[in-house]
């Protein structure tokens, strides 16, 4: 178990670093897809089958591929003359380091670490479904509304584009 964990963690972190630092956006997007897949593997290793496969389906199969799609549509290559980082990137690095330090410090001093892993439940999918339909019914409905709104929003964006495309551009 521990060897598998370290391999997964290492690959996930390395691909995340690659996604944040590479110049070619396609490489970034694919590295990010690999990170998502690594996280799905970590979820499976934690016994969360449902979440693991949802992660694979939604993040790797849809979100990452849509990002790749967007990169291809925007001809994703950073101009070679400019840096890929903004001029103030040391600030970003400092903030990120500070946040990590705070999180790690809090972790080391907290007592949550002493929890032992519980035995994996036999059919968590059924339990998750029941919880969603009883205890979490209001957030679930809100999510439904959110998804509908997002769907309508995306359609409106696409429709506007078609309208602005339709009149032929006047020749000057």
């Amino acid at each position: 178990m521990s060897v598998a964990f370290f391999i997964i963690a290492l690959l996930t972190l390395l691909s995340a670093v690659a996604a944040m630092t590479l110049r070619n956006l396609i490489h970034c997007a694919l590295a990010l897809a690999f990170t998502f897949a690594g996280l799905a593997a970590a979820y499976l290793q934690l016994g969360a089958q449902f979440v693991g496969f949802v992660q694979l389906l939604v993040y790797v199969g849809a979100v990452a591929i849509l990002i790749v799609f967007a990169v291809l549509l925007t001809r994703g290559r950073e101009p070679a003359t400019q840096g890929i980082f903004s001029p103030k990137w040391p600030v970003g690095a400092a903030v990120a380091l500070g946040v990590f330090g705070t999180l790690a410090g809090l972790l080391l001093s907290s007592r949550v670490l002493h929890h032992e892993a519980a035995a994996i439940a036999q059919a968590p999918v059924r339990q998750i479904g029941e919880q969603l339909m009883t205890h979490y019914i209001v957030p679930l409905e809100v999510l439904g509304v959110l998804l509908t709104a997002a769907l309508i929003g995306a359609v409106i964006l696409a429709m506007h584009e078609r309208e602005s495309d339709s009149p032929p551009p006047s020749k000057t």
């Binding site: 799905a40 449902f50 496969f53 694979l56 790797v60 199969g61 591929i65 799609f69 291809l72």
Partner: protein
């Protein structure tokens, strides 16, 4: 022998057998495709190598391996090598959870009996896009690129319709496990889910054609406009891998269709819908499954030579404006009926 090593050995045997049978079916699907197309177009088809050209797949394989593996200078090498492999893998992985028989002795005839069954399938199927997108990007020229873009849009669109089409099935069955789906369909032929949710079956069937890039939805590789689409720059065994990937996907999709809607390994006569008590019945049930699957696959091949190709906007229109609303309505209606009948 410890239970674990026993499990490992039996799993290994099952994996090898399933892989061998799948590869055999893939090889001969190409032969059937050529024979069927020949019959439809009033030709002979392959008939030189062996009786009825039956050794043609072997000859094709030898040819594919011996041809020069040409890598064009302008391609992006790493992705160029990765793409054909990525095309192959998802279809092979989906077959792992399909119950292809009841049991032989005490071994269940399924490689992995997952509780989240169909979620696994859709998760893995959604990875298939990467192979084609990477192939399109790796080629670094315009037709493959267009093919790759088209395919990613098409696959994602129809994945949604496909995923929503099977939700009524699982509302009826009450679980995501595929063995459960099959045991739900026993008893009478009218318990088959094709009769219980016909709309789901139709949407799944159409989406299956789109997901496997088969005519009438083979836009990503339409020869006439894109000169072959994403696989233009490929030759020899890499090109053959794309073809095998397509047929492996068709095989996996047919197996899934049979399991979800056509009763899987069961037949509602002579007690063949109960888990096998003897070895003979167990083998017979595997053969029933294979027979059903091959009938579906034959139909897929037949349709290819009977239908013209859709236009790209028609394809998208069909997916987003017809099938997704239909699938949503199907879910609502099924849920309402279940709610009213069960209460």
């Amino acid at each position: 022998m410890t239970p674990f090593s026993q499990f490992a050995i039996f799993s290994a045997i099952k994996i090898i057998c399933v892989f061998a049978v799948t590869m055999f079916i893939v090889a001969y699907a190409v032969w059937v495709e050529r024979k069927v197309s020949a019959a439809i177009q009033d030709r002979h088809g392959p008939n030189r190598v062996g009786p009825f050209g039956l050794l043609q797949p072997a000859a094709d394989a030898v040819k594919a391996f011996l041809k020069e593996d040409f890598t064009p200078a302008h391609v992006r090498k790493v992705y160029y090598w990765l793409a054909p492999a990525i095309v192959m893998i998802p279809s092979l992985l989906t077959i792992a959870i399909i119950p292809f028989g009841s049991q032989l002795g005490h071994q269940k005839m399924v490689i992995a009996d997952l509780n989240v069954g169909v979620l696994y399938t859709f998760g893995i199927v959604s990875l298939g896009v990467y192979g084609i997108v990477l192939a399109g990007y790796a080629a670094n020229s315009k037709y493959p690129f267009l093919g790759g873009i088209r395919s990613s849009a098409q696959l994602i669109s129809y994945e949604i319709a496909m995923g929503m089409s099977v939700i009524p099935v699982f509302l009826l069955v009450g679980g995501l496990n595929l063995s459960q789906v099959i045991s739900y369909q026993t008893g009478s032929i009218f318990h088959w889910l094709i009769f219980k949710c016909p709309l789901s079956f139709i949407i799944f069937l159409v989406a299956m054609f789109a997901e496997t890039n088969r005519l009438p939805f083979d836009l990503p590789e339409s020869e006439q406009e894109l000169a072959g689409g994403y696989n233009v720059e490929y030759s020899s065994i890499k090109f053959a891998l794309f073809f095998m990937g397509e047929y492996a996907a068709v095989t996996a999709a047919s197996a899934m269709l049979v399991t979800l809607f056509l009763g899987g390994w069961t037949l509602p006569i002579a007690g063949l819908d109960r888990p096998a008590a003897t070895l003979g019945v167990g083998i017979l049930q595997i053969l029933i499954f294979l027979a059903k699957m091959l009938v579906v696959e034959f139909m897929v091949i037949w349709i290819r030579w009977m239908w013209p190709r859709f236009r790209y906007d028609q394809l998208m229109d069909l997916g987003w404006r017809r099938f997704i609303p239909l699938a949503l309505a199907n879910i609502v209606v099924t849920a309402l009926v279940l709610c009213l009948v069960v209460k």
